[in-house]
Every structure is written in structure tokens, then in C-alpha cells.
Point group: C2
Chain length 230, copies 2
DNA sequence: CTGTGTGAATCCATTCACAGCT
DNA sequence: AGCTGTGAATGGATTCACACAG
């Protein structure tokens, strides 16, 4: 949703896939997380049935999702967890590391810069930019904050694959335009703002307040019944 | 996705709605954000056409989404922005404020506690819990951190509607079970872990690393062509 | 027997297209 | 003349159900 239809590039890698639904791709990282945990807990095979129960997803959905990419299971047994982890990492492009530029070194940006969840999953922060003279030049999470005006030059010298946007909403679109201009094709946007990008650029929105607001819809009809049942 | 089918409560409020698709509910906060901005910029009416362009969504989708809840537009003119903001806030239950308990006062938890995006959208932090003796008793964002073992009692005395989970993945399920036990029906989960909840509880996942991993799928097929086109 | 892989069937969401209001 | 509201049509995604492999 909120993503223009886009002419996907024809497939060039060896493999087979053709035109996989985006929802499927979005589920794969979640499958991967569960499999990692099961492996750490000593499991070595799992059926789509059991995996589905872990995830709250139907077994058929898991089998169908995986079948887009190959035949990884063994009938009568299930899936080798080790094998499946390897396949998913391959599919998602996680056999390599990816580098990111963070724009915005305010309170939110600094929290993102020191978030420990990216590194272990294969993502490295390579540069931090901000527009405020007060923070440019300071050190954040081991990086010297550079001025956002030097961003396009800087990224042309040493490119990154991913941009993280943590600037105030009113500047988000301009910053994203600059990132796209510098050749970035994937953006993680923490600004609470719908942004427009060319069709070949992917955006994922991180918007906790919007997530809360979609839950209050359901809370508002439940609460009265619980509180004043007479 | 990743949410069990659940028997929704029958509608009791006045209004009309019946069984609205969850995707529709998730879009409403985004519509609201754009409308707020347009209003601040001095606009007073907008057509589904123009609103759709702001959002990267078809006009028909916006009209259909809104039509689940009523007839808010004027033919030939469009929608009154002020009116529509009011209706959406009503629908989403944003005419009141909601209170939240945060579990986990580590690096991530502290960042969440001082995140400035919740208050203006109607969400107040009411309590913070942690399990580590090193942080229990300290002050975080104006709240004294309480021990997680006292959480259920504490929340029975002074309930909250929403729980925010920012504990290590291996403790997330246990913490969520406790929150649910204490009567919380909505959870914002920052732990990178699929969790199980009873059907009447809503969970929204905030998982930036998973968001990145679903974008690398597309990057991995684009990059080689850009870098080594010969 | 157990559990995958997959065409077919079903279910759900999006888009179309136009009648009708302003 | 312009734009909403909405049944009908289309397009996708999920689930079913079973042939087949181990």
C-alpha cells in the first residue's frame, strides 16, 4: 500500500523467480527471525504446520510463499532449518553487508545511530548528516556528523545503498529527494509523513504513532463495555 | 498479516459501521496526517484526486475507504478538510487521550520514553517498568522506573490502555503475557520477535531491521546492473 | 503415514465507471 | 462542469485439497 505501481526490472540472476508479490517478500524476514531462534534453541527441522504456529500464519501460506523460490522441504519430514535459513538469506540478499547513511542527528537520529539491532542483521552505518551547525562536527555513535549540504558529493565518493531519514516532517521530502539524487534506492523513513519517490526507489515507513492510532480504533469500541458493563 | 482471524465484537456504538477491512483502518492515520498538514498550510477543501496524489494512492481508494464510515464529501467540491479531520479523529478514537506503559528501560526503552512523537498525537506515557536492579528506581523521562514484577498490581490500580514492549527478544513473549494479564488490549512491540496473543489483543510490530531486509531483496537485483554494466 | 508442493477455488481488496448531487 | 458515493468488475492473495515423495 502507499506505493505506486512500478515496472519491476526483469530478472537477471540465475535462479528462477519472476514476479513475487510484495507481501511475500515482507514476510520472509519474519520467517528468518523465527528460524534463527529455533536453530539457537537446538531444532534442526520444522514443518510448515509448526512454523505457522510460531508465527500465527497458516501452514499453506508458508508453503506457498517458499514455493515461489524453490523446493526447500522434504515430504514427510519438513524443512531443514539450516538449509532454509541459508536459502532465505540468499533470496533476501543478506549474504553481504549493506551500508547506510543517516540524515538527522537530533534526538531521534542519535537513538537510531546507537540502535544495536542493525549491525547483527547485516547493516552498517557509514555516515551521518545534519543541517544544524550545533551538531555538525560533533561525534555521534563513532561518526563525525557532516553537513547535509555536502551529502550528495560525499555519497558520490563513497556510496551507500540505504538512506535513513530522521529529520522533522517538513524537511523529509527534500532530504529524500537529495538521497535519491545521490543514487540511493532504498529509504527507511522515520519522519511521520507520506513521501513521494520515483518508481525504482523503495520506502519503508517507521511510524509508531500511526501504529498506535490504528489500534485505538479497536480499543474505542472495546473499552466502554469493559468499564461500564451495567 | 501475521494476525489470527478473530471474531470481532459486534458493533454497539451508535454510528453504522460493521466489518471494516483492517487495511482500511491502517490507512486512516496516514490520511489524517496529510490533512493536518494541508490545513496548517491554509487549505480548506480537497478532492480525492488531489489527496490521492499527496499520498500516492488512487482517488477511488480514498473515496471507498471513507464511504465505509459515512458521506463526508460534497459532490462537485470535494471534502472539507476541517470536517474530515474531525470525522477521522472520531472514527479512530482520537477525541480522547490514551495512556501507555513502557516495559524495558534500556537504551531503546529510554529513547522511546523521550520520543516526542507520541504526545502531540494523543498518547501519554504513564509508567515505565524494567527488570534490572540497576535501572529500577532511576528516573527516565520524568518517570521513576518500577520493577516489572510489580507491573500487574500497579496496572490494576492505575490501568493503561496500551503497552509498549522494548525488552530483549527472549523476554518479549513473557512480558506481553503479563501485559495481557493486566488487561492491556493493544501492544506496540519493538522486540524483533513474532509474538502470540489472544484474539482480542492487537499487536503492531516496529521492526526497522526487518523493514531493511525486505528492501535488500530488491536492491540485490538492481545493484549489479548499476555498478558493472559492461 | 506424514508433510510438501501446487493447481483450483475462494476470499478479499482495489479499481472501474457511472448515476446523482451541488 | 466537477466530484462524490457505490454497485459491479477486476485483480490479487490466501486457503483448500490432493497427488506425490520420502
Amino acid at each position: 500500500m502507499f506505493r505506486g505501481t512500478l515496472a519491476r526490472r526483469a530478472w537477471e540472476e540465475a535462479a528462477i523467480p519472476l514476479d513475487i508479490p510484495e507481501v511475500v517478500i515482507e514476510r520472509l524476514p519474519v520467517y528468518l527471525r523465527v528460524l534463527d531462534r529455533l536453530q539457537r534453541n537446538g531444532h534442526s527441522v520444522i514443518s510448515s504446520q509448526d512454523l505457522g504456529e510460531e508465527l500465527g500464519v497458516t501452514p499453506a501460506q508458508i508453503r506457498k510463499d517458499l514455493s515461489y523460490f524453490g523446493r526447500f522441504g522434504k515430504q514427510g519430514r519438513g524443512y531443514s532449518i539450516q538449509r532454509l535459513i541459508g536459502e532465505l538469506r540468499q533470496i533476501l540478499g543478506l549474504e553481504r553487508r549493506w551500508s547506510m547513511a543517516l540524515v538527522g542527528a537530533g534526538q531521534l537520529g542519535r537513538a537510531i545511530a546507537s540502535y544495536r539491532g542493525f549491525g547483527p542483521q547485516g547493516f552498517d552505518l557509514a555516515a551521518i548528516f545534519d543541517a544544524s551547525p550545533a551538531v555538525v562536527g560533533t561525534t555521534v555513535a563513532g561518526h563525525t556528523v557532516e553537513h547535509v549540504d555536502s551529502m550528495e558529493d560525499r555519497l558520490r565518493e563513497r556510496p551507500v545503498e540505504i538512506g535513513i531519514v530522521a529529520v522533522p516532517a517538513e524537511h523529509a521530502q527534500a532530504v529524500i529527494d537529495q538521497l535519491v539524487g545521490a543514487g540511493v534506492h532504498a529509504i527507511l523513513n522515520y519522519a511521520p509523513r507520506a513521501v513521494q519517490v520515483p518508481g525504482h526507489v523503495r520506502v519503508r515507513q517507521i511510524d509508531p504513532a500511526a501504529a498506535l492510532q490504528s489500534m485505538t480504533y479497536y480499543l474505542k469500541s472495546e473499552e466502554p463495555a469493559l468499564r461500564a458493563p451495567r
